[in-house]
Symmetry: C2
Subunit: 339 residues, 2 copies
Amino acid sequence: MADKSSDRSAPTMADVAKAAGVSKSTVSRAFTQPNMLGVDTVERILEIANRVGYVPNHTARALSTGRHGNVALVVPDVANPFFPPLIRAAQMEADRSDFCVFLGNSDENWRQEDKLVDRFVSQVEGLALAASRLSEERIRHHALKRPLVLINRDIRGIPRVLIDSSTGVIDAIAHLAALGHKSLVYVSGPASSWANQQRRAAVRAGAKTHHMDVTIVAAKVPSYESGRAVVPDILASKATAVLAFDDLTAQGIMTGMADRGVAVPEQISIVGCDDVLGAATYPSLTTVSNRSDEAGRAGMSLLLDMLNSRAVGDARLVLGTHLVVRNTTAPPPRKSISS
Amino acid sequence: MADKSSDRSAPTMADVAKAAGVSKSTVSRAFTQPNMLGVDTVERILEIANRVGYVPNHTARALSTGRHGNVALVVPDVANPFFPPLIRAAQMEADRSDFCVFLGNSDENWRQEDKLVDRFVSQVEGLALAASRLSEERIRHHALKRPLVLINRDIRGIPRVLIDSSTGVIDAIAHLAALGHKSLVYVSGPASSWANQQRRAAVRAGAKTHHMDVTIVAAKVPSYESGRAVVPDILASKATAVLAFDDLTAQGIMTGMADRGVAVPEQISIVGCDDVLGAATYPSLTTVSNRSDEAGRAGMSLLLDMLNSRAVGDARLVLGTHLVVRNTTAPPPRKSISS
DNA sequence: CTATGTTATGCAACCGGTTGCACGTCAAGA
DNA sequence: TCTTGACGTGCAACCGGTTGCATAACATAG
C-alpha cells in the first residue's frame, strides 16, 4: 500500500481527501479558507497533499469560480525594443499576484489583434492592450466583456496609462532651437498610434513656439528599414534637424545618412524617441527617454486593481519623459546641405 | 418574450439547447462533431447559437477534455534581445494552430522558473523552455507531467532544438587566426547556459586547431553592464582578440574599450555572438549569426506535433550558425597593447 | 437538565461543457 | 413480414474543483 498514486495523471482533491480520511469539501477549504477548519486538520491535509504531490487544478477551479487567475497582454510587436521591458515589467507585476499572463503579438495588425483578444477573452479575467491598433469601437466592445486597461492609448472611460512624450519632445525642440536650427522634419510612425499623434502634435507646438519650420515625413511602420527608406525625403526637405518617431527609425536614418556621406551631427542633427538603444549607436543618439517598463508595471497593476474591484474608475495615469542629450545633435551647418 | 437572454452572463449550451428544442449533447456535437448529426439540425443550432451570441466556454471544455489549447513559453529574460524574435516566432507558430501562449520570464533564476512552470502546468497542454536554467532533474520531472520541448538545452530523451554556435565560433576563430592573432579571451556567459558551454568548448577546440592561447574571463550574466565590467580582466590578459558570449556583452566590452582609449579593431578585435544588434554598433560588430526566430518557430512546431501525438520521440534539431564579418576585427597591433 | 450557540465537517448541487451507451426510427436485405 | 444495421438523438455520468446548507459534537447559558 505504498504508492498507488502512480497514475499517469496528477492526484486530485478526491485522492487527497481519501488519503486524509476527509471529504473533498474539507480539502478544498484547507486550501481556500483554512481558518474555517481546525488547525490540525488543515495541517494534516496540507502535509498529505504535499506528500502526494497534489496541486490544485487551475482549470477546474476557474470553472466553478469564474476566476482563472489569468490576464492577457497584447502588443503590436514583441521584437520592437520598446516592448520587451514593458512586457517584462507587466509579467513580473502579474506574477507577484500569482497571475499568469498570455502574451499576444498583433503584428501591427488590428485584425490579428482583434482575433487574439477574442481568443483570450474567454480565458482571462482581464486584458491589457499596449499601443493597441484597434478602433475605439472595438476596444469599447471588448472592454464591455472584461476589465481592460490600455497602455499608450487614450480613450475616455477606459483605464489607461500613457507615456507622455510631449514634455520630452518639447524639450528636444527647445534644445534644437537653442542650437540654432530653424527647420526640422518629423518622421512619423503608425497613424493609429496614440504616441505618434501625440508626438506629432508636440512637434508642431514646439516648432511654433520657437518659430521653426516643420515638415512631416511618413514612415508607416516604426523600424530600422523604414528609417533608411525615408532619408531621401528628409534630405529633400533641406531641414537641418530630424526628430524621429522612435529610436529604431532614428537609427535607420543615421545609417541612411552615413550611406550618403551626410555627417551626423555636423550636417544634420537627429533626435530619437523612447531611448531603447541606450548609448549603443554611433554617434550615440540624442533621444527622448521614457520608462516603458514603468508603463507596463503600472498598467498591469491597474488591471489587477480592477480585478480586485478596488475602485479605479476612469483612471488616466500619465508618465513623464525627458530629453537625453547625447551626440547626434549639434548646431546646424553654415549652409544647407546638398546631396 | 423578445429578449430574456439579457443576463449579465453569457449564454450557455443549455440555453441554446432549450431554444433549439434539443439536448445539450446535440448542441455540443453541433460544434465538435457536426457530421454525427443531421445537416438540418446542425444548421439550425448554429443559427440559433449565433443569434443568441453563444460562444463555447474554453474553460469548461478544457476541464472535460483536458485540452485547453494553451501552451507555455518560458524564457530567462524577455528584455534580452536574443529572445524577442524567438518569442515572436513561437507565438505566431502557436497562433497558426489556434493555440494561446503563456509567457513566463524566469529572470535568469531557476527558482522563479520552477515556480512559473508549476503554475503553468495545470493549464497548458505543453511547455517550451528556452535556455532553461533548471537542473536536468527538474526538467525531467516536469517533462513527466506534460509534453515539453527545450530550446538551447540538450537533454537526452527530451525533444529539443539547438542553435549550434560551434560552427560559427570555429569560423570566427579561423577568421582571427587568419588575421594573425595568436591569443584571445573568451568572455563566458551563465554557467548553466547550454549555449555557453558549447561556445566555450568550440573556442577551446578552435584555438587548439590554430595554436592560439585562450583565456576565459567570466561574466555571469549576459548584459551590457557585464561586458563593461570585464574589460580590465581582458586587458590584463594581453590578448589581442575577444570573443564574447553574446552581442550584448560584446557591446559592453566595446564601450569599456572606448572608455579606456583602446581602439577597436586597431588595438583589439572583438567578436560577438547571436547577431542581435545588426549593424547598429559602431564599429559594426563582427558576430556569429543565428536565427533565434527559427529556433522559436521550430521549437513550438515540435511541441504542437507532440500534442497531436505525431511521433516525435527523441527529437534533436540542430540549427547551424555562421560568422558575419563586419568591422570589429582586424589584424593584431604590432606590439601588445598597454593600458 | 434542557435550550441555544458555536464550530468543524460532510452532502450534494453546480460551474459548462464532453462522451459512452442506449434507444427509437427507418430502410434495405432475407 | 421479420431481422438487421445505420443513423440521429437523448440520458446521465464525468472532468475537478467550490459552496450553500445541513448536521453532529461540544460548550455555554438559563
